[in-house]
């Protein structure tokens, strides 16, 4: 962008800003809508930056992203990012929500005073179909043609003034990725935009062929010249969808992700661990010895610290997922995976939620709403928690490092990385078997058409990936700061009661110890003792809590205090017991957040209770087998 264009945009901004201030009519709530793959979310990120929040629309399973866009005159506009839709015919839940919000039918959301309609300028003729129902709402609308950089570089063209004339609404050509033309959108937000002129020839909205015909006519009268097909996308697809190279690359990508997560994260994690140890020692040295210091250092610091250590690993995983998704490769992965998914009665679209479930089951379950078939969706929700989420990763990492030798297998693969990959495979295989059983029994359904749009390949932007990582670390740290903090404090209390002559009773005779001993007979066949038992109970809240718990238990016990966690664990578990514990974690549903989100998404307690019981039985049986098969 040249300095000159910035300058003119400045002037227009200020002049419009004044007129808006004079009229006092800047819109308060603006809805952002567009078809999937139109770059809607990129624009949303561009406009709102870090000032976003994600919630669910009450009563439905559709995510509600809202954010605040700041205006040059100091004002602010609330932007609602509506789900990506191809039409406004309310059939799916997404379309229903979009329709209800735009027409002011939702009591919880104010009717938007203006609409930003985002369309892909490289595929304008088809995307214009959505303009007809949106413009006919009679709400002030800015028609945004996104991906201007692609349109230009591939030789496309559109006459903006003619298009605005045809549509009776202002039109802006922007590139949300490059930040080009954003000031035009901000100008629109700042000004009191006029209502769109009634369309001269409104197509019959529910008749798709007529809508498409209308869109084609509007496009050709705006002298729209479609760009030539993206050369690089064709070239890359020839490689990534090659009958032989394609699946090999697919496997290589998956393996590379896991190998990197396990090896590259280690120095970062050591750094975080060192920070927590050093600051913990400093606190211990600064505060006078008291019950409060004990709670703070042994309870809070050690417990929370042992979980926060895994932040680098979680972020690396989200970094890879973000790159795969933003580059467009994820859609190709779904295509390659579809046949395999179809064999267990699922579809390629289940692959993306299931892949996200490797990060966390909660966003994965939210992502299943792209699956239109309800039974396919329920089946995907039920198997998603079997995917190895990032909360299991710290548990696996710890146990593998404590019990498996760090040596090379077959000359190239690290034994520990191989074990980790094996655990990932185990969760996946059980998920597949479960899906098969469910889809051939209670969730049997007619196969729905599988439709997958292949977006062009694009370079992921630092900004978009950075925002996602920021968001994820916020969620992860919030969990460490709430659920896990609460559990560690409760555990500390349970471990220090009942007091004996004003002193803590020692772990074995505390409330926590008694609970551990009470469940020991049940878990003994799995190779677990009462200390692991306490960890299992606290991990029902969130899987990674077991590490904080064990850290706390070992920290309080004079015998194990001096040992590091791996050594202490080797006292408590045999190798068979360690494998049994990992298998238990692979199968069991130990996550309050997941149970809550399944209840919300399936609309009742039936499925989450079934899921909890089923996964629990499987975990017990699997751990029992592992302990008895491995010496």
């Amino acid at each position: 962008m040249s300095g000159c264009s910035d300058c003119t945009s400045c002037q227009t901004t200020s002049s419009r800003g004044i007129s808006a201030a004079v009229l006092g009519a800047a819109p308060k709530t603006v809805a952002l809508i567009g078809p999937p793959n139109s770059g809607k979310t990129t624009l949303f990120n561009r406009l709102t930056g870090l000032r976003q929040k994600v919630a669910n629309f009450p009563g439905v399973t559709v995510e509600q992203h809202t954010g605040i866009a700041e205006l040059p005159d100091g004002g602010a506009v609330e932007i609602i990012d509506l789900p990506g839709v191809y039409s406004l015919q309310p059939r799916s839940e997404d379309e229903q929500v979009a329709y209800d919000v735009l027409t002011g039918r939702r009591a919880d959301t104010p009717k938007p005073e203006a609409i930003l309609l985002v369309l892909d300028s490289t595929n304008l003729a088809r995307h214009l179909m959505l303009a007809a129902p949106i413009l006919s709402l009679g709400v002030p609308t800015l028609v945004i043609l996104n991906m201007a950089d692609d349109l230009r570089s591939r030789g496309g063209h559109v006459d903006l003034e003619a298009l605005a004339g045809q549509l009776g609404a202002p039109v802006a050509l922007i590139s949300a990725r490059q930040g080009e033309g954003i000031e035009e959108v901000v100008d629109f937000l700042a000004a009191s935009a006029p209502k769109p002129a009634p369309l001269e020839q409104l197509p019959v909205l529910h008749d798709v062929p007529k809508c498409r015909e209308w869109a084609g006519r509007v496009g050709s009268q705006a002298r729209y010249r479609a760009p030539i097909p993206p050369v690089w996308t064709r070239r890359l697809d020839a490689l990534f969808l090659h009958p032989v190279a394609g699946p090999l690359i697919f496997l290589a990508v998956v393996c590379a992700v896991f190998q990197t997560i396990f090896t590259a994260a280690v120095p970062l994690m050591d750094g975080v661990k060192w920070l927590f140890d050093a600051s913990g020692n400093w606190i211990a040295a600064t505060l006078p010895p008291s019950i409060l210091r004990s709670l703070l250092v042994e309870g809070v610091w050690r417990g929370v610290g042992s979980v926060v250590v895994f932040l680098p690993q979680v972020l690396l995983l989200f970094l890879f997922l973000g790159i795969l998704e933003d580059s467009g490769y994820l859609a190709r992965a779904a295509l390659i995976a579809d046949r395999t998914m179809a064999k267990v009665g699922l579809q390629g679209k289940s692959f993306i939620p299931l892949l996200s479930a490797y990060a966390c089951a909660v966003p994965a379950i939210l992502a299943t709403r792209t699956i239109e078939n309800k039974r396919d969706r329920t089946a995907t929700i039920l198997i998603a928690p079997f995917m190895t989420c990032s909360a299991r990763l710290p548990v696996y990492t710890l146990l593998i490092a404590a019990f498996l030798p760090n040596r090379q297998l077959f000359g190239f693969a690290n034994a520990r990385a191989a074990a980790l990959l094996g655990l990932y495979a185990l969760g996946f295989l059980v998920a597949v078997a479960t899906a098969r059983v469910l889809k051939s029994s209670v969730l049997r359904s007619r196969r729905t058409p599988f439709l997958l749009e292949m977006p062009s390949y694009r370079w992921p932007t630092v900004r978009s990936i950075g925002l996602r990582l920021y968001d994820r670390s916020k969620v992860f740290l919030r969990r460490a700061g709430t659920v896990i903090l609460l559990v560690t404090v409760l555990l500390w209390v349970a471990a220090h009661l009942p007091t004996v002559g004003g002193k803590a009773p020692g772990m074995e005779h505390s409330v926590a110890g008694m609970v551990g001993h009470a469940i020991e007979p049940v878990i003994k066949p799995l190779g677990f003792n009462w200390r692991i038992g306490i960890g299992l109970i606290t991990s029902l809240a969130a899987r990674e809590t077991i590490i904080g718990t064990l850290g706390e238990i070992y920290g309080m016990d004079p015998e194990s205090r001096a040992l590091d966690m791996q050594k202490a664990l080797q006292h408590d578990l045999s190798t068979g017991g360690a494998v049994a514990l990992m298998v238990f974690f692979a199968f069991a549903m130990q996550c309050i957040s997941t149970i809550a989100v399944v209840r919300r998404e399936t609309g009742g307690w039936r499925w989450p209770l079934f899921q909890f019981a089923y996964m629990g039985v499987l975990a017990y049986a699997g751990a029992f087998l592992a302990f008895h098969l491995i010496p």
Partner: protein, 125 residues
């Protein structure tokens, strides 16, 4: 926009009436001209499954229940539109089709329900 003409329907009761517009015929004619002497298969009725990579065809009708057909039409699979078969997952299923400026992947079982007028590909005998 002028008159509409129905193309003859398929033997099966298609859920969607086969309507093409004059402009659609223009596309069809264009295609026929482009393919020149190679349009030997122009009258053959086939489905998308019969297209090999690089083959082009004109979509005739969608033999699927209302909502499924609608979804396909919103993605560009409208009667009268030119569809080109593209790459596929290993084993040929699902296959990517270029239609109306986008690339959409369909499974074999869905592609079988989309009837086309096969017009061959530039460069095929």
């Amino acid at each position: 926009m002028g008159g509409r003409r129905g193309i003859e329907g398929t033997a099966q009761a298609a859920h969607y009436v086969l309507l093409t517009t004059i402009s659609d015929f223009a596309i069809l004619n264009n295609m026929l001209q482009l393919s020149g002497n190679k349009n030997l298969h122009a009258d053959r009725l086939a489905t998308l499954v019969d297209l090999r990579r690089g083959d082009a065809a004109i979509l005739d009708c969608i033999d699927l229940p209302g909502d499924d057909a609608r979804r396909l039409m919103e993605l560009g699979f409208l009667p009268g539109t030119r569809v080109v078969a593209g790459l596929s997952a290993p084993g040929g299923d699902p296959r990517v089709f270029q239609v109306d400026g986008s690339e959409i992947a369909l499974r074999r079982e869905t592609a079988r329900r989309l009837r086309v007028r096969f017009i061959g590909a530039p460069g095929t005998p």
